[in-house]
Each structure stands twice: as C-alpha cells, then as structure tokens.
C-alpha cells in the first residue's frame, strides 16, 4: 500500500476504510443462503410477519405503524415493526 493510500485510508470513516482482512461477519455472510428466491416471495412473507406482529399487539397494521412512528418510548416491537415496514417498502421499489 502506498503512502497516499495509507493516508486516505486513515482519513476515511470506518465504514469506508479499505480493510483487506476478513471478519467474522464476512465469514458468517459466506455461509448464508438467501431465504427467498424472489422479491415477490420475500414481500409476501414480510407482509405476513408484519400482520402477525400487529396481531400479537392486538393492533391493526396501520395502528401498529402509527404507534411505532409516534411513540416517545420505542420498544423492541416498534423497532421490529418499522424495520419490516422499511423492508416491505424496499422490496416494492
């Protein structure tokens, strides 16, 4: 690595630092297989997951998402709900 590359590497934020070593996380990724073969298949599963989560809270999906976005004290199920909402949105893109 040249001096210029070393200097640039130090200046970059950690997410972009040019690391060549392998990490446990990357090794973990290499063992993964996609859960779903298509976006459509993933979408249907995630919509079901969100409906199940809402039912567990005795809420409709709309009420759950409203609560998740407006609460001043996010609980783990709020975090899970907004993550599912975001994933569904990404898959519909």
């Amino acid at each position: 690595m040249s001096n210029i590359e070393k200097r640039t590497d130090r200046q970059l934020a950690p997410e972009h630092a040019n690391t060549k070593e392998s990490s446990e996380l990357f090794e973990q990724f290499k063992q993964l297989k996609p859960i779903h073969a298509s976006n459509e298949e993933a979408l249907q599963t995630l919509i079901c997951d969100l409906e199940t989560l809402a039912a567990q809270q005795n809420l409709t999906v709309a009420a759950l998402l409203h609560e998740a976005h407006s609460t001043t004290d996010s609980k783990p199920y709020h975090i899970h709900a907004t993550t599912l909402e975001r994933m569904i949105g990404n898959l519909r893109r």
């Binding site: 997410e15 990357f26 907004t82 990404n90």
Partner: protein, 155 residues
Amino acid sequence: MSLKHDWASLQTYLNAHERVLNTFAKFMIQPRSYKLTQITANYLLLECTDIQFTTYAGNKVRVDITKDVEIVDSNPKRLKALTSGYSYNANKPGVGNLLRYDSPDSPAQLSPKSPAHHYHHHKHEWVDGEEQITHIGDDDWPHVDEFIREVLSDF
C-alpha cells in the same frame, strides 16, 4: 467528489461494521455482534438491537441499529454493497427516546399522507419530552461510529 456513503466491497463493508462495534464494546454492558439475514440474493438485513451502553456521563442508553444492504453480484468474486435504508435509535430506559436517525421512505411507501420528513434523511431528537425533527442532506447522515459517539458523548 467522493461520496461519504458509496458502494464498497461487501467484505470491506462488513469488516468495517464489525470493527466499529468492537471499538465501542468497552462501553457496552454486554458486547454485541451484528445479526445478518440474507433476504434475497441482493438484499441483506444487518441488525444489532438492544445494545446497552454506558455513556461517558455514566448513563444507561439502549441503542438499536438496523440497516438494509443492497448487494450487487455482477462480479461474484467481489460482491458490492450499499446501505439502502437504516434506522439508528437511542432510548433511555425508564425515560424514553433520545435520538433517532431514519432514512427516507422508499417511493412505494410514500403517499400524500406521509409526513414531510419521510421524504428525507432525518433526525428525531427528544428534548424534555419535546420532539424536534431535522432534515439531513442525502449524503450527510452519520455512519454507525458517528452515531454511537454522539450517543456516548451527548447523553
């Protein structure tokens, strides 16, 4: 001009995320690792929720990080990754939310009823129970290390 948030090799992307969590492990009550879920060949979910931190001021704060990662596999030997969505949340147990950064909603999520801030990267802050929302430039949202440093130093 180089972007703050740009495509990187997936290996570099994951290595950096692991390294950042390790860097801040000494402030965690229990060291934590990311959970990876590969939804499809091109969509990875990276999450580490319920991280219990002790801040520089000695306060207990819960942090939840979730990131959607788009993967491009045009060269299978060198997969590339880009964050396509994220949420970084900080909550003080028994008190409530302190801080959250969110990516914009995807076009499919947006509707005429969507709040204006859902069209932008944005930051929620709760000060004495009052919520303030600030829009953030497209490439100005924080990396995970910047967010954790903000939580540790501000709370």
